[in-house]
Symmetry: C2
Subunit: 434 residues, 2 copies
């Protein structure tokens, strides 16, 4: 016997679209932390963020309908922070600290709206730029990525039958649970979800996060996704990202200022957050150069998030540096977040266990791993290496070198200049998976 | 084609019970406001709350299974305020005022648990008592009532077919929407949901509240249910209740103190909330006596909530009194909340329109009106006049007289004494519907 809920069914028929982003909190926590600081210290800076698809073989301009993309971007622009969300941001404790976000910032957020975008199709790809005040454009990074990634997923599943879809998700669930069972064997594991930007879809990310909560218990410390953290009473995880040193470097007046930019950013961060949240990204312009030039006080920070070096090699390099500075690595923290999956998590965990505190930020391979799950075969659901990076600040080009030259972004002449200033050695290229 | 969500289906099979109360915020807002004051001013007082079924013809002890009742009460005792709920209570504004609940109170709430209960069956009814510190027992009022009312609804629907249930709710929805259409014709209407305690079920109350939000727009100002207010970004509505004067009266050392008790309570309230939330209940021991003996400053309060007199008669009496005190009723507020339905709302609205500010608290006839909806006929879904009242304080009997002698509660000898002290005339009895 079938009973139909006519009202819901008919209401659903009238859906203009099924929104991918339904809340401005559906973003990474570090965006909010950075935004608060940028608003206070650099409110006048303009920054352009641009979509970069490193997986050029996937022709997004042919896969994703432009009308659908515009409808989703426009819907995201229609969102505002709700009263309940702002109350939670103001009242929740983050990293054990109350009132992380000040009342004046919360009041400003209450009127926040994502700014306009520029979209055009060229050479089978989308060119998508967000130009305007840094305090506005930086908030597009995550929604732009989640929208495109989920539209790509939807396109890949458009012609599938209902049972094929049922089996697809059944396999993906089983696949994830196998990973959970392996991770359970690591007793001191500390892991969090960093998979918002590359997720298969919002609902799938939610499933993954709740599965880790049930499956990993205390080993699972939270999620970078602010909305999921609020809804599931989990910790919101994250601190800062490459855009801070990239903008500081772009605005540097000369080579000396450029060389100093990565440390100036850390100093601003430490002051703004009163000595909390002291996790540094070492790799914006190469970890080796960063450590070699770092002032001694950088070794007082809680830890590093190496984001493009191979985890064991990058971790060893940082541990050597701490020891040179007379610090005990067992009191320090390394956060591994670059393309991690169960194999690399296990290897890294076993390699460093007892020698340094470790935490893992699990991203793409948590929330978008459908390898071998599609009953129809094909690779339409494979994740791609899509980023949304700051490309200029106050009209000056922004550059990232990274520890992997394939992850470098920016104008080639400027990249050459940065390599000279930072003395960045020729680096070993490693395929960028995700 | 049917696709089954096996996990959900099987998880549901393992349900120990379908909880009626799932959150400690699923209560009336005034309980929290009163609790905060009681905790500060009267933390040592013990108070017994007891269930009173004024509709004796409905033999709850035969309708509701004792095991199910205990399971639901026990489940409510297992609840704690969640982090998100406490953050919302601390951070939300109520009646335009921030920080209505102080940090020390919020910290205390974080460990709050409903205290134990005494339950036994006698004469086809349940005797249900909550004995202990007032700061604990008072929080049982609403969950105890919602649990019993919903178990009664479930019992009445246990043997119905699926289509009969579908038609039952279809009629109830149509019935409510007719009321919405009539209320829309009153342009200055101000109305809120007061129906938590007598609701048919939690999910039905939620439907009703969301229907009013869509159907009445700005005329619908909010709900007394704190959980629904939070979830739907509505205002939480309410101030105080009869338990305050009843406990003060029970603790009065002599007749003079008894006569003063209703005003002492108002003075405590005004001080505790810094002159906000100045709505007085005039009828605990009879409105006529209350107004006759009231100090002049009572006329400075924002308004009254007449809760047992007929609305027009009770409103006229208060308006006359305001005029005698030299106040302009058009600057004053009357909140009508005793058994209101569309007919009485319309009559009262038209009678007083332009002469006094009005607000309606719509309760039982909003959230539990299934008259004429049951395809099988019968009156099993009719609401009953069930209350949970304070019956003693520090071992001394508590009494309510009300403006309707059928709503009086307490020991007959004490009732006689109160009538003498308050000079309460012989009142006209009116049938208590709900």
């Amino acid at each position: 016997m079938t009973v139909t809920d006519f009202a819901t069914r008919t209401y659903d028929h009238n859906f203009r679209l099924d929104p991918i982003v339904r809340s401005l909190l559906d973003t990474d926590f570090y965006k909010l932390l950075m935004l608060q600081m940028i608003r206070q210290l650099h409110p006048e800076v303009n920054a352009t963020f641009s979509l970069i698809n490193r997986t050029r073989t996937v022709r997004l301009g042919e896969i994703i309908d432009e009308g659908e993309l515009r409808a989703q971007l426009d819907h995201a622009r229609s969102l505002r922070f709700t009263k309940k969300e702002l109350i939670w941001l103001a009242g929740n404790s983050f990293y054990g600290r109350a009132r992380m976000f000040g009342p004046e910032f919360i009041a400003w957020l209450s009127a926040f709206q994502l700014p306009d975008y520029e979209l055009r199709r060229a050479d089978g790809q989308y060119e998508l730029h967000f130009d305007g005040p840094w305090t506005q454009t930086m908030m597009w990074e995550i929604p732009a990525l989640t929208i495109i990634n989920e539209l790509k997923s939807r396109a890949a599943m458009r012609d599938k039958g209902r049972f094929a879809l049922d089996v697809l998700y059944a396999r993906a669930k089983a696949h994830l649970w196998e990973k959970v069972e392996r991770l359970r064997l690591l007793p001191d594991l500390v892991i969090s979800d960093f998979g918002t930007r590359r997720r298969h879809s919002f609902l799938w990310q939610r499933w993954c996060v709740e599965a880790l909560k049930e499956g990993l218990g205390d080993r699972f410390i939270g999620t970078s996704n602010v909305l999921l953290a609020m809804d599931a009473d989990l910790e919101a995880i994250g601190t800062n990202a490459h855009e801070l040193p990239m903008v500081a470097a772009a605005l540097a007046e000369d080579d000396a200022a450029l060389a100093h930019a990565p440390y100036q950013v850390l100093e601003e961060w430490r002051q703004h957050y009163n000595g909390n949240l002291l996790i540094a990204l070492p790799d914006a312009f190469g970890t080796t150069a960063f450590l070699a030039q770092a002032p001694d006080w950088v070794a007082d920070w809680t830890g590093f998030r190496p984001d493009s070096a191979p985890p064991i090699e990058g971790g060893e390099q940082i541990i050597r540096w701490w020891k040179e500075k007379g610090r005990d690595p067992r009191e320090k923290l390394l956060i591994f977040s670059d393309g991690m999956d169960v194999d690399t998590i296990e290897d890294t965990y076993r390699h460093f266990h007892g020698r340094v505190r470790m935490s893992f930020g699990w991203g793409t391979n948590l929330t978008n791993d459908f390898r071998g799950c599609d009953p129809d075969g094909g690779n339409g659901l494979d994740p791609i290496s899509l980023v949304c990076k700051v490309t200029s600040a106050n009209g000056r080009p922004a550059v990232k070198l990274s520890d992997n030259p394939l992850k470098a972004t920016g104008d080639p002449a400027e990249i050459a200049r940065y390599r000279r200033v930072f003395g960045t050695d020729v680096q070993e290229a490693r395929p960028v998976q995700v």
